[in-house]
Symmetry: C2
Subunit: 231 residues, 2 copies
Amino acid sequence: MGTGRRERLRAATIAEITQTARRLLVEQGAEAVTLRAIAREMGMTAPALYRYFPSHEDLIRHLIGDLYNDLTDSLAARLRSLASEGIEARFRAAGRWFRSWSLDHPREYGLMFGAPFPQAEGAETHDYADECGARFGMTFMDLFHELWEQKPFPIVPDECIDPGLRAQLAEYRDHMRIPLPLGCLLVYLQCWVLLQGAVSLEVFGHLRFALTDAEPLFALTLDDIALRLGF
Amino acid sequence: MGTGRRERLRAATIAEITQTARRLLVEQGAEAVTLRAIAREMGMTAPALYRYFPSHEDLIRHLIGDLYNDLTDSLAARLRSLASEGIEARFRAAGRWFRSWSLDHPREYGLMFGAPFPQAEGAETHDYADECGARFGMTFMDLFHELWEQKPFPIVPDECIDPGLRAQLAEYRDHMRIPLPLGCLLVYLQCWVLLQGAVSLEVFGHLRFALTDAEPLFALTLDDIALRLGF
DNA sequence: AACTTTAGTTAAAGCCGTTTACTTAACGTA
DNA sequence: TACGTTAAGTAAACGGCTTTAACTAAAGTT
């Protein structure tokens, strides 16, 4: 049907596709992010998207990667805007910012930090989303690094760490080339579990059985983290 | 096709349906739990299931409720088997047991504690799954209650709790008829966030960027909880 | 025996991911 | 400039999904 013949001036781009997917995600939820819906929004047909992604799942994984990048860039920008503040203030701000972003983007958060897509168990496939996720983690790690150099917090010596855990931490440190003591990485992980655990429960509504507004509880969580960091 | 006409000896039951759904969940993952698959497994056709549930989502919610009940009953049984132990030992055992159950049942866990189904935001509908979830929470609360009576742990007085949080805790206490001080409920929530946050991150694979076996880290989380409870 | 209820059926509409085969514009090059 | 190739789409179809509607046979009731 050559009636409204398509202007072949410009092809679609991967960025346009993921942006459209994200808009659908935000406006209508995860199950609305279908190939047909994305294509419809872009004035195309679903099979055309196979020129850009080998499957629906790959597209979603790429979207997750983009979401991580957005998160990383937003955090970096926020931290730059606070460059004049002390490291402790910036650290607390980063925690509060992560919670705010998550509550403001619940559907994005669900896709990134909810149960993984096909419950990928032993899937060793390190894909784009994993890379971007690692980059996001590193942004937090950099903040940690700076904190450690400016105001070292109490850590346990390597010998006091459970051997199994110690080996894993050493592996992680070497793999990521992080020039920090193992006890420092351990505190990093503990803080991250505290922070993301609290945020996940709140965003996913698993605190609503008791609280309608978990902000004051989160403030206490931040205090916990601060305590551990010797603030 | 009335050839193999259905023996109308016995009708299906809701329990059989959710059991079949659970088997599919465990064996093939959440997206395999379709009405057609459930019906197929039971030797029926999909529309027949509408005699028992108004929609696929309601069936899933009912399944989630059953999973909560299973969790609750398992925990109660485990606690009974430890009745001779001291309260502190039972408390730690309960935490370890929750992690073990979750790691042994990752797909069930994902359904119960992952991102909610349609990102139900202001949905005030208190359904079967919510009820069963509350019952599960109460089992942990009972343990907490016992601990408080046998070995009271340090809490902050009501006046020192953030007013907004205090009001919510009071509402929760009155609604659930929990005869404990607000500071006690606060510690309960903090411990629950610590526990479930750590387990969620591990089950969903969000610690794999650093650890392949998070058990030693979880042991430290339990130590944190124990510290807060004055063990 | 006649009627109602129960517990299923089939058929169909409208989604979905994915594959296949086809079209056509644009590009490189002899 | 003509021709082969590639890029980027289309349409049609398959099988699977939820859900609705109309129908039917068995079981229970009066």
